[in-house]
Amino acid sequence: MINYLLRRIGLVAASVGALTALVFLATNLLPGNPAIAILGKDAKPEKVLIIQEALGLNEPILTRYVKWIGNALQFDFGRSVTQGLDGFSNVGTLGTPVSELIISPLKNSAILASVSLILLVILTLLIGTYTALRAGSKIDKSIQIVGLLFIALPEFVLGAILIVIFCFALPILPAVSFTITPTNLVLPVATLLLSMIGVTMRLVRVGVIEVLKTNFVITARLRGIPERRIIRKYLLPSALAPTLQIFAIAAGLFVGGMVVVEYLFGYPGIGSGFVSAVAGRDYPLVQAYAVILGGTYVIANFIVDVITYFTNPKLRSLMMS
């Protein structure tokens, strides 16, 4: 069992490693000199050279990568090139350390993500199972249609509509959320939730219907086992694994959605931070955010795999042998 966990962790580490390599490549290998991007096209060549030196851009890429990883593991992600600068007069003081800059947004996004995720999981399971059990009925069909509408609207549209309704028509909620308060959280969470639930609920529904069609559920009915018990002891355990998989896959969509939602509501999280960093070509910051955002999917899958492993007796014994 330990072997299995170690192997999985190894895979996760390798994936994250590859991720960081990609990010690093993207920001450093592709054409576009960051120094020029910072200083503007008409920058004096000497100034460009100085910046390049300061950013370490003159060394071979592999060295830079290794240095970067080494620093990253000690939570040093370099320094921002757009924030905390004081006019390049004294080159010694470049911007604020990235690690400082990301702490607060990280915390904020974590709050937003956890609240949204918990609500998402609960609602998806409830609605997904409910509609699956009553598949084909009027209520199922109407829920499907509503779900379709939510899928159809991209996050920014959904958010905009919610803003109109709740901020202008009935001014009960704030339209921007610069600070983290429960009222400020409502709309961002609602937007994220509604944009995802159409998809996840549908997938869970299909998964549950599939289990309902399996032979062992049919046989259970033929053995006279009451419906409630079938749901509890036959359906849910078998539907658990595929459902978790769905959420692992949804993690990607979730992160993307979070970026847009944070930007839309001015929520100070890593999503909006990432967007500003990209807009400002703040490479060290971009790198740090990209790794965090990209790593979420890998981590989510890992967590799902571990939970699946622990809840499935078959896998456990296979792993042990």
Binding site: L11, A14, S15, A18, L19, L22, V23, A26, T27, L30, P31, G32, L148, L149, I151, A152, L153, P154, E155, F156, V157, A160, I161, I163, V164, F168, G252, L253, F254, V255, G256, V259, V260, Y263, F274, V275, A277, V278, A279, R281, Y283, V286, A290, L293, G294, G295, T296, Y297, V298, N301
Partner: protein, 275 residues
Amino acid sequence: MKFLSKTSLSTRVGITMVLFIFCISIFGSFLAPNDPNEFIGEAFALPFKGFPLGLDSYGRDSLSRFLVGGRYALMISIVGYLFGAMAGLFLGLFSVYSRGKTDSALAWFSEVLIGFPSLVLMLLLVAALGPSFWVLVLALSMVNLPRVFRLVRSAAQAARESSYVEIAESRGEGKLFIMFREISPSVMPPFLVDAGVRIPASILLVASLSFLGLGIQPPASDWGLIISENRMALTINPLSVTLPILSLAILMIGINLALDGLQEKRKDSFKLGIE
């Protein structure tokens, strides 16, 4: 087109909706009554003669801006999809054919790439290379490649392990023959369906990027950009954003309806396992 009769109402409605939006994107520029970039008057002016939707945040004709707002996104989506999908298709077939270590390595690599949420990946590339047409195309290809790869790979598994492929191998057929003559026909149906979903979804991605200000740049027009530029005035003159919002919505609803219809049909045609 005899398969049209096999499709359900859902699919037909869905495809119509998608095609309708495509048409607006393609032909919109011919229908625009005014120059979308010309400053006419006061920002957010209400509709008046010759300007049925009024003016946008910069005082330009909202209708014309909307009509030309689809074409870049559509072009970028189609080209970006083609590059990514062709590569993904070939690599997917190759990976499934090769099995073993090659397959595992390629699969792992594509999983890492997929791990990047599409938006984040595109933003990353834009950060590196700036928001231009070809950068967006490249970014979309990178988004589409691993996803198409994964789809092709999973669709081709069953065919790869079937007896008829084995018989072909024992006959001594070459790699390319098996990949394209024996395996790819099984992959085509899900691949085409996926294309039908992925291209409109790409349009949405471009719109999202534009909304964030990092996609199609002003003064060019894009639906996402329009929404971003005009959202502050939703209560003053919502007309500037209603059409782009509607178009994106119709696009997505259309895809999903079409997909639903396909699921239904597949269930229907499956002959009951009587014995």
